[in-house]
């Protein structure tokens, strides 16, 4: 008898909890309807762009309260790999998508990746602020970084660095998942391989930090990451030496200027399309400029 009653009580309790949960659920549903649904846009990729991508996401949460943009870095390769698998909405990239990556995307998801140029960046070559060197040519950079390059000491460039007895050039590079790494390999090394033994950093910021802490170092990173401990070198070309500046990047006289790209799977729709349109608008481009990148020239001139 006792047992029977117990089970009845248990059943009653479970029934009420069931009802309660359903009620709560209903309430929850009503709530989201009242505030209209929030959409989440997943963005991943380039470490060069992660600062500006986060700034965009933050600002956009004010513009459209119903859209939440989640940004993560990892490198252009990581972003494109995730896009190809179909796990994110937008991939940030500081290099173009490769044809085999596009084929895999088509195979996996049935959609072609679509490219948007959202701005430009000048890839700056950094040295320590005490380094007397002011300009460098692409060929010298190649001799320093490429596999069979001949330059390994600062004296090879006719430079002595004050305050240190060391003469060896400490090469600072990026991990191979980075779009910056691939851009540098393509445009400076002519697709040759890097000399082994460079310190390969995880992010754009780490490169600049290590250069700032090391008197004999040289490194490359986006120009938005400059600090007071480092110096950006002018790049020597046939037409003169050019500093990595907004104007020089827009006019493309600076030889290491590159496009900042967004990729989506197929034509973007709904919230994603609105977000990308907003990035291309005057407001989005202004944020890009504030973060040390180069906005699209037509928008900048319209301002």
């Amino acid at each position: 008898m006792q047992k029977y009653r117990n089970s009845k009580v248990a059943r009653l309790i479970s029934l009420t909890t069931c009802c309660l949960f359903t009620l709560l659920n209903q309430c929850g549903k009503k709530d989201t309807k009242a505030g209209s649904e929030t959409t989440t846009i997943q963005v991943k990729g380039s470490d060069t762009m992660v600062n500006v991508a986060q700034a965009w996401a933050e600002e956009y949460s004010v513009v459209d309260k119903n859209v939440e943009v989640e940004v993560s870095g990892g490198g252009s390769g990581v972003g494109i790999a995730a896009l190809v698998k179909g796990t994110i909405d937008i991939a940030n990239a500081s290099r173009n998508i490769k044809s085999d990556e596009a084929t895999i995307a088509k195979k996996n998801t049935g959609k072609e990746p679509k490219e948007f140029i959202v701005g430009y960046d000048a890839l700056a070559v950094y040295v320590h602020k005490d380094n007397p060197l002011n300009e460098i040519s692409l060929d010298q950079l190649k001799q320093i970084y490429a596999e069979d390059g001949s330059v390994s000491r600062w004296s090879d460039l006719g430079i002595t660095i004050p305050g240190t007895s060391s003469n060896e050039i400490v090469r600072i590079s990026r991990q191979s998942s980075s779009g910056t790494y691939e851009f540098f390999r393509e445009h400076v090394l002519g697709n040759k391989d890097f000399k082994l033994g460079s310190r390969d950093m995880n992010g754009s910021k780490e490169v600049v930090e290590l250069v700032g802490a090391t008197k004999t170092a040289i490194g490359y990173s986006g120009m938005g990451y400059a600090t007071e401990n480092v110096k950006m070198l002018n790049i020597k070309t046939d037409h003169g030496a050019f500093a990595p500046t907004v104007e020089n990047a827009q006019t493309k006289v600076y030889p290491l200027a590159r496009s900042l790209l967004l990729y989506t799977l197929g034509e973007p729709e709904g919230a994603v399309k609105k977000y990308i349109d907003w990035i291309m608008s005057a407001q989005g481009q202004e944020i890009e400029k504030e973060n040390g990148y180069v906005p699209l020239s037509e928008v900048a001139s319209a301002n």
Binding site: S166, S176, G197, S198, R199, T216
Partner: protein, 319 residues
Amino acid sequence: MSSNLTESTLTLPDAIPKRVKRVGRPRWAIIGEQALELLIRISGISAIVFVLAIFFFVFKEALPVLYSHNFSIKEFLFSTQWYPTSVSNVRYGTFALLVGSVTVTLLSMAIAVPFGLGAAIYISEFCGPRQKETLKIIIELLAAIPSVVWGFIGLTVISKLITTITGTAVGVNLLNGSIILALMSVPIIVSIGEDALKAVPDSFREAGMAMGTTRWQLILRVLLPAAKNGLLAAVLLGVGRAVGETMAVLMATGHSVKIPHGVFDSVRTLTANIAAELGEAAAGSPHYRVLFLTGILLFVITFIVNLTADFVIRGIKRK
């Protein structure tokens, strides 16, 4: 008692089964117990299943590359050329990474073993009960610091210390990684080493003191030999932690493919290399498979470490 029982069985043969049913445990209890037993058995066996499943998965992902025409196992093991994403000439040589892993581990153990065992001896034999409690709590706290925080300390604090003290150019190097790994494995060595010393019966200590030994003689001649097995286990667990650690060494060693010529050279370890590159390697590509093969290489290394430890301990036991 027994005579009573036999009497009842004799007089009431039919009543017995009924009684057993009513007085004995209810059916749900028996089923529940059996279910619980099954559950425990499954969790016991699950460890084996998981290990086998991991082995199977890693091998399955790695094996196809062994048959591909542009891969040679000789290059993989003995070449220092690691160019997995090269445009013109892809090379997968992990020798420099292997040397990186081994040197970082050895140097970190050279730092951690004296400190760890020293601390274990101090805590177990020299300090008073109150100090012992405080020290143990703090050392356990040391073990609870996440590895990425250690890496952060290596990148900022220790790197700066190394450059200012030694005047070397770059602070993220072999020495830095080893110091961080040593700091991470010391807590393990201390707590397991201390347990091993505590397990030595007090009668050993009493006998030693009765013979008129000094404290040092007692530790060196009596306690350390008696606790040898446990202390070795402590050191080997420390080695295991050092070989397998990823995030901290990724941040502190400088991540540079190079055979080190001194403690101030940067290195890259097998684990850090997998962590840094697996994210971008397209699933199924040769680069992806070679990274899994490096995983197998790590498996083999830890397997050899464990096996030698086993043999050494057995050898000691036989003596």
